[in-house]
C-alpha cells in the first residue's frame, strides 16, 4: 500500500526542469522531461551530493550541476563510466495532480 502525498500540479514543474520537495526525510527532486514524464529522485548526486534538482534535464537524464555527472531519471543510476546510484521515489500523475510517496523504491529498476 503506497501512501501518496499530493505535492504539485504538473504545471508547477517546468518542462525539462525540476522542483524540490522538502520532506522530513530530506529533499526530493521531481523532474519533468520534455515528453512530460515525471520522475522523483533523492536530491543528492551519488558523487559529491550535489542538488540534482538544479541540473539540466535532457532525455531521461539529469546532469548534476556540480561536476556534470549524468544520472538516469528512471533508474537513479549514474550513466557509465561513472558509477553510483540515487534513491528513486514512486511518483504518479492523476488528472494533472502530481503525488509522491516518501518510501523509496526498493526494487532494482534494471537499466
Amino acid at each position: 500500500m503506497t501512501d501518496w502525498i499530493n505535492v504539485a500540479t504538473l504545471e508547477d514543474i517546468p518542462r525539462q526542469g525540476a522542483r524540490v520537495v522538502k520532506t522530513a526525510a530530506g529533499d526530493i527532486a521531481i523532474f519533468r522531461t520534455v515528453d512530460d514524464e515525471i520522475f522523483a529522485l533523492r536530491d543528492k548526486c551519488p558523487h559529491k551530493g550535489g542538488p540534482l534538482s538544479q541540473g539540466i534535464v535532457h532525455g531521461k537524464k539529469v546532469a548534476c550541476p556540480l561536476h556534470d555527472w549524468k544520472i538516469n531519471l528512471d533508474s537513479g543510476l549514474a550513466v557509465a563510466p561513472d558509477v553510483g546510484c540515487t534513491a528513486r521515489y514512486p511518483v504518479r500523475v492523476v488528472d494533472g495532480a502530481v503525488s509522491l510517496s516518501l518510501t523509496p523504491e526498493t526494487t532494482s529498476a534494471g537499466r
Partner: protein, 840 residues
Amino acid sequence: MARMKLVLVGNGMAGMRTLEELLKAAPDLYDITVFGDEPHPNYNRIMLSLVLAGEQTVEQIVLNSRDWYAERGITLHTGKRVVKIDRKNRLVEADDGTSSSYDRLLLATGSKSFILPIPGADLPGVVGFRDIADVDAMIAAAGQYRNAVVIGGGLLGLEAANGLKLRGMEVSVVHIAPWLLERQMDEPASRLLQKSLEEKGLKFLLQKQTAELLPGTSELARDLDAAIASKLAPTEGARVGAVRFKDGETIPADLVVMAVGIRPNTQLAESAGLQCSARPGGLLVNDTMQTYDPRIYAVGECVNHRGIAYGLVAPLWEQARVCANHLAEHGVARYQGSMTSTKLKVTGIDLFSAGNFVGGEGHEEIVFQDAGRGSYKKLVLKDNKLAGAVLYGDTLDGAWYFELMRDATDVADFRDKLLFGRHHIGDSGAGGGMGDEMSRVMALPDTAEICGCNGVCKGDIIKAVREKKLFTLDEVRAHTKASGSCGSCTGLVETILAATAGGDYSTAPSKKPLCNCTEHTHDEIRAAIIEQGFKTTRETMRGLAWKTPDGCTKCRPALNYYLLCAWPTEYVDDAQSRYINERAHGNIQKDGSFSVVPRMWGGLTNPKELRAIADVAEKFNVPEVKVTGGQRIDLFGIRKEDLPAVWKDLSDAGFVSGHAYGKAMRTVKTCVGSQWCRFGTQDSTGLGVKMEQLTWGSWMPHKFKLAVSGCPRNCAEATIKDFGVVCVDSGYELHVGGNGGIKVRITDLLAKVETEQQVLEFCAAFTQLYREEAHYLERTAPWVERVGLSHIKAQVVEDAANRATLAERFLISQKPAQVDPWKQRTAGALKREFMPIHAS
C-alpha cells in the same frame, strides 16, 4: 518479434568495435554471429610490435575475451574462414562447412601482408607481420636462428626489426627507397632515425631490391657465391637461407619478414560479386559504410571509402561508429573521411608525422635541425595554414600541429614561434615548460599526478586504458576524468595513452561536431540558424536532424546562446537550457547554496552601497563576505529560496546583478587613474565605468572580463583581460585576447586610439565580433589564436564601416539585454524556480 540476424565476418578490431558500438546503441536488435579465421578472440593488432619486442604478452593484448562474447549471447566461430557469401539466400559458409544465415552482413576482413612475388617467397621461414601466428613464427625463429632480414623499411618493418633485435637476432632491414619511412618522413629526419636505430644494432641496406629468396642454411649461403647458390635445387622442406638482391649480392637469412605493405583483403567480397576498387584496392562503401549490396556493410582495412583504404586505427573507429549507427537503424551518421597522423612504436624513439610534409608548389617550409641533440622539426605551410609536419626527437607538439591542420587555423600571427611549439606562443601557464617533461612522462612513477583538477595519477590512466580498453582521448576523459576539466594536461594524457594502447591515438574526424547529438560543427550550426531562420532550440534540432530528442548539456546551452546572439530582439530565452548559475542568477556552491555579487561600476563604491551590503549580510546571516579578483564584493552561502529577498534589498539600494555567474560580461577592473594617481595619464576609473555601462548584461560565448589601467604600470592588469585598455599620455592602447586563468595568455595589441569615444566603439565592435564568431565556451584567448589577430584587425581596425556596423549590432543586442534580472525576479518573474515545495 524475432530478432534480426547479424553476421560479422572478421573477428578483428574494426568489426568488433562496430559490434560494441552497436550493442551500446541497440542491445537487443540482433542475434549476432562472428566468424574469425584466427584461433584467437579479438586482440589489439597494433600491439603486436610490443609482443614481438617482449614488452607485452598475447594475453595482455586481448580486447574481447571468449567470456565477453558468451555473456552477450554472441556465437563465436574462431579458426573458421568464411569462403562463400550466398547473397541470394543470405547465407555465409565457412571452410569447415559451418554456415549461417543473415539479415545484415558486416564484412571486416581486414588486410593481408603483401608478399613480394619472387622466387622462394613460399619457403618456410618467410613470414608477413600481421597476426599472432606471424609473431609466434618470428619468436620461434629468434630462439633457434641467428640472421633475420626484414624487407621493407616502413613503420611495420622497423617495428618488426626492432622486436627481432631485442629477441637477440642479427637484423638487416632491406629497403627499396633511398631512406627509411619515405612516406612518413623527409630525408633529414629519416637519417636521424636511421642513426639511432643503427645505435641499437640494426643494419640497413637501402636502395636494394630483392631478387629471390634462397633455401638452405645461412652458414651454407655465406660460403657460396650467388651464382652457385641459385643453381642449387631447393631441398624438400628446406628453410629459407639467404636473400639475393638484383645487384647480385647475397646475405644470409634464417628468417625473412615481408613488410612491404598491406593489401585490403577483398577476396571473399569479390567472389560474392561486390564492387571493389582495383587501385588502391578495397571493398567500395558509401558514407554510411554500406556496400553495393544494401544488406552488406563493411568497415576497417578491407574498405575503400572515397578512394582511400585506411590502415590506422582512428579512422576505423570513426567508421565503426557510423556503421553501428546504421546497423542500429538510427540512420543519421555519416563517415566523411579522416585525417591521419603517424607515430612509430619503437620504445625510445619519438617520431610524429602528418599531412603533406614534402611540400611542393605553393608550399613553404619551416625547418629546425639539431643533429647533435637528435632533434628535427619540419612544418609545411600553404596559404599560412599548416599542411603537414614531421617531428623527430621532440614530438610533444604533434597533437597541437595536428589540431592546427584539422581546424585549418591561420598561423600568420604566430608563425615566427610556430616551430617552437604551443608553450612558446603565450598559451602556456600550467602547461608551460611541459616540453621537457614530455619525454620523461613514461619514466614517471605510477603515483605521479597527471591531472591536477581531478587528482588522476599516471597509474590510474594506465589501468583504465588497459582494463577498459580505451583508445581515444575522449574515452580516457570519460573513464578517468583526466584532462577533462581544464585540459592543460591533455598532452601528457595523450602520451600515456599512446604508450599504453599504441596506435594513432590522435583525434580522427576531419571535422569536430558540437557534441554527440549532432554531426554538425559549431560554425555550421551558427550559419544554419541564420540562413535557415531557425528561431528556437527545437526548430534548430529538428532542422539539423539532431540525434537525441532534446539535446544534452553541451548543445542545449550552446544553441540557446547562438539563437540569442542571432536574434537578439525576438528570441525568447530558454531557461531550462541554461546552466543553473545562469538560471538562478547566482553561483552554485558545493553545498548547494549560492553566492551573490552586486555590480559595482568600474569597481567604484560608496558608503551607502557598502552599508546596504552590510545590512543584507547581517539580515540574511551571510556566513562569508569576500572581495573578488574583479574588484567586487561576494556574499557567500545564501540559500536559493532567499535569493529573491536578498536581491530585493540590494535592488532597493540601487544595485543590479553583477553577472558573476554567467557566460557573460563580468567586470571592468580599473586603477585609480589621473584623478588621484601621480602617474595616471587618463581618467581610467571614469572610462571603466563608461565601458561597464556599455557592456553590462551582455551574454557571451564564455565569460568576458575587461580592465582599464591609467598608465603603462598597468595596475589593473589589463594585459591579461579579454579586452584591456592601457592609457598612455597620447591616448589609449587597446589589448585583446588575454587570460589569467588556467593558461595565462598576454593580450595582443589590437590598436591605439585617441579618444574615449573611440575606445567605446572599438570595445563594442570587438565584443560583437567575439559574440558572433567564437564557439560557445571558447574564451577570447583561444578564439584569437584560432582565427588569428589579423582577421580581427581586418574586421575591427582596418575597416571603419565594418567596425561601425559591428558596434551598432552590439548596441541593438544590448537593448533587451540590459534589463536587470534581479529586479525582474524580485518582481516575481520565474518565481517557482526559487520556491521549494513543502511536503506535509
